[in-house]
Symmetry: C2
Subunit: 419 residues, 2 copies
């Protein structure tokens, strides 16, 4: 049979997705904590909001040694600090009092939601030991707001993001002094707030129990790979994220499926995949980092370009946002800063014309990492690494500005001092 | 700047994805077990393949009670049988000897790969207590082969699928007699082989450690919801799977992101989402089941139609495959059996023309479940539930044939008896 020529579908109606997100936020922002919206009759009476002021402390009696500078794992296992913070949630009672306790294994039933249905999301941010001796976080409010968005998208509970931020600061207040010692200025620790669905049930459904936890770990510096970061464009038969998907959320489901192509690219000598989207090959992300290009337009104008957020394909990176903001403030006179869709063919063409100047990846893990090569469909696009081989002048300028804020050389509202 | 008109990309080259899958399979099918491909020099000398004959047994001394018929959970937690089977894998040594042991919690470090990057896959199959008193699995070889495919897609280790099948049979040989008692013919247990990435490392990478486990659980019968299954088409801004994605694999990343829309649909009185794909609204899956429609073509021919597998958008369901095969064998004279792309508009048009006859979802969990209604963009498409209100004649015929095989009324190669 032939498809009917004329569409016979009816009127549009409120989207399930946006309705679901609104309902979820309305449900969780209820009685208590001034969030009441008059909607509380359907909710359990004893629902408790996440409350950092209720944090309990059980300090470890088996304190471990701080690893030598530059060591971040033991036999491939990430080294974490002495403590972690956990907070359990249930649909029935809401959030239990968060606990700071010794770092150690979690017990999960084999039926736990997270192990089957990827009901999981996370954040990544760093704590920095400043050259002034102070310990700082960088824009933790951005990470906490994004964690809430990711959590709701993956059917995990909502929470007041400022309470999460307080918990992160509480963990650093206990472990920061020892694990980021004052005699190691310019070093950092990587913080990983995580939420997982813990209901022990195999039915495919939003979990009625969840666990939020925060851990602090070591991670190697990845912003200056020898010779620059080398990218391989994504294969035609593999897409990282898609319009109508969840590429904008920091959920596990964005990561596992990308590992196969990444591993293959690494075995061919590349550091990350440059993820292209759609038939035109739109540039989206470099690995799990945002991707920036600096070029001259055909008209001769200096321009820095990165993909826009409007299709919700890519992560609203904190580093991305900060780079754009600093570039507009400090480089706006010389360089046009543009968020728009652009294709790999435009990058290749700019290279062929000699207009391609710099490229870098921006994210918490890779910080601001210069890109030296993009391999696309059998062709190598080589990009200048600047005079000292550490990145082009715009890349280095932005990296320097960010470092100054993170490590306390410059006083800035984005640097939040841990007391 | 304007995008260049002529594509400047180079020659095609071997796909990262297919190359990665080939490498992975070649790597794991090496020395031992007759899989040698002369490629073993790069592999650890002491790599062991998954071997069911090495299974060790530690039986529980805290045997639990079998729940009353029809009870599958306690306070929302799935009831499992006394035992589970686990097998640990590492990139270094391969598979350790599998263990049958008491069902209980798993200990995972907070940094475990599965909790952050959704490195997880699973299978679902049932064990059936036949009317002849025998215990059967239904085509377990299909599930084990698909588990291997899913595992490789999500960067977890490969294994000989026949070894997994032996382990499933071994678990049922121990727990089947008690948990599917002979005085409950026509009942089933739901088996869930699962694999998770357990490497305790936050670096985004294929895990170097994994755990395979098999659990056996109770699950409610879902194939005869009161009044038939009611579907709501997916919202415009939410896509389950996409070309170049992983919709064909049974990986956690396909499930978590779909829960939000499903929960909202349930709150509006629908059982599942009918997932549409692309601008034309291609019908793909009903919830996590395959979707079938029986209609008359405009030319008056009886036809049963379901989406094809060629874009790898949908799961290659064992029930789907069996339904197609049985329909061709038993109904081929009256009904044309077609796997092709078709749109929601075609379904709506068939309804408007009075040509829409039956619809059902097919999968292990929902078995063969009649669909009574599809809600699409403000319009209700109502579908006949047959004379007795339990599904149309073709739906019931196929369901009956499958039941006869599963519960031993008909001798068939698809029914594998547990000894």
């Amino acid at each position: 049979m032939t498809p009917s020529a004329a569409p016979v579908t009816g009127e549009p109606e409120p989207s399930l997705t946006s309705a679901a997100i609104e309902h979820k936020l309305a449900e969780d922002h209820h009685h208590g904590n001034g969030f009441s919206n008059g909607n509380s009759s359907a909710l359990p009476l004893e629902y408790h909001e996440l409350d950092a002021s209720k944090l309990t402390y059980s300090l470890t009696d088996r304190s471990r040694d701080v690893p030598p500078l530059g060591v971040s794992d033991i036999n491939g296992e990430t080294i974490c600090t002495d403590h972690m913070i956990t907070a359990a949630w249930s649909a029935k009672g809401g959030w239990e009092a968060p606990e700071l306790k010794p770092y150690g294994p979690l017990a999960l039933m084999p039926t736990a939601s997270v192990l089957h249905y990827a009901t999981e999301c996370f954040e990544g941010l760093k704590a920095y030991r400043g050259f002034d001796g102070k310990l700082r976080l960088f824009r933790p409010d951005c990470n906490c707001a994004r964690m809430l968005m990711s959590s709701v998208r993956i059917s995990l509970p909502s929470f007041p993001p400022e309470e999460l931020e307080k918990l992160i600061l509480a963990l650093m207040a206990i472990d920061g002094a020892k694990w980021l010692p004052r005699d190691r200025p310019g070093s950092f620790i990587y913080l990983r707030p995580t939420m997982i669905g813990t209901q022990s049930a195999l039915g495919v459904q939003a979990p009625s129990k969840a666990l939020l936890y925060i851990i602090a770990s070591y991670m190697p510096s990845m912003d200056a790979p020898n010779g620059g970061l080398r990218l391989h464009t994504s294969p035609d038969d593999m897409v990282r994220a898609w319009v109508g998907g969840f590429g904008y959320a920091k959920v596990g489901a964005n990561y596992g499926p990308s590992l196969l192509a990444t591993q293959e690219a690494r075995s061919r000598g590349f550091g990350q995949i440059l993820w292209l989207y759609g038939e035109k090959g739109l540039c989206t992300e470099a690995g799990a980092s945002n991707f920036f290009v600096v070029w001259k337009t055909p008209e001769g104008k200096m321009q820095m370009v990165t993909a826009p957020l409007d299709d919700r394909l890519i992560l609203d990176g904190v580093t991305r946002r900060s780079v754009l903001s600093l570039a507009r403030e400090h480089l706006g006179d010389e360089v046009e800063i543009v968020e728009r869709k652009y294709t790999i063919d435009e990058v290749v063409q700019a290279d062929a014309d000699g207009r391609l100047l710099e490229s870098f990846a921006a994210g918490t893990a890779y910080f601001v990492c210069p890109i030296s090569l993009i391999h696309h469909r059998g062709r190598d696009v080589r990009i200048s690494m600047g005079k000292a081989g550490e990145g082009g002048p715009i890349t280095l300028k932005l990296k320097g500005l960010l470092k100054d804020i993170m490590y306390g050389n410059m006083d800035h509202a984005w640097g939040v001092v841990v007391q």
